[in-house]
Symmetry: C2
Subunit: 116 residues, 2 copies
DNA sequence: ATGCTAATTAACGGAAGTGTTAAATTTTGG
DNA sequence: CCAAAATTTAACACTTCCGTTAATTAGCAT
């Protein structure tokens, strides 16, 4: 029972991490470009390095990005774990939002379904 | 171009709405039970009605729940639109987080892919 | 050691989020 | 109309979030 609550907390943390336009943009860019040093992420955004640094920490704590060191540089890349957590949750409710099912069917299926 | 930014904003709004344990729980419960009056949502949570009322407003503004009136009651139900927005985004990056693809393939495919 | 570059942490101010209690709104029923 | 019930809105306190500038840490080169 505690496990379920922990998962929910992790999920909330993932959502929180993406609930900011700057952070969402960072994740999108890392997914598109593979990996980037912190400096490259700062360039092209009009906020300062310390702010970005903390955004990166938030994303890292949420498991959405990873970091590796290379000299004085910190190279960041997207981490599938965090995104997969969101995907798992979303897909487990597919029956609800997928238009080929109606809401009633969704309610019935969820009752004794993936969450049980 | 402006359209894309708007979409991104909507997505951030959806994530923000779910970035709170109380609101996530409300959405989950509505998906599971179909529809509930505000009073039933208040009962079973240890926060007051006004707080819940504002949480419901946040979820409604994000397109995650819907409201209909019945007497003095306000009946809420999950709204697939908001969830589908998250699902669309997540699935459009499936190539990135799905373990059957590696990161390089994801980068290549995203470059001229679903986002173009 | 010194200096240079890259990045993070510290300290702080302002904006936004979350909860409470009290008041207002809306609808129903006598 | 008056009163009760269900919700929402108003006003307020408190905490968290987000950005800035200044200071610190860490690696590399001379």
């Amino acid at each position: 029972m505690r496990n379920k609550e922990r998962m929910s907390d992790e999920l909330v943390k993932s959502f929180s991490a993406l609930a900011d336009p700057t952070r969402l943009a960072i994740v999108e860019r890392l997914m598109a470009e593979g990996e980037l040093p912190a400096g490259d992420i700062v360039a092209g955004v009009d906020i300062t390095a310390p702010a970005i640094s903390r955004h990166l920490k938030v994303l890292r704590d949420a498991g959405l990005i990873r970091q590796r060191a290379e000299g004085t540089k910190r190279i960041y890349s997207a981490d599938a774990r965090g995104l997969r957590r969101i995907a798992d949750w979303t897909l487990s409710r597919r029956i609800y939002w997928d238009s080929q099912f109606d809401r009633l069917a969704a309610a019935i299926d969820l009752e004794g379904g993936p969450d049980a």
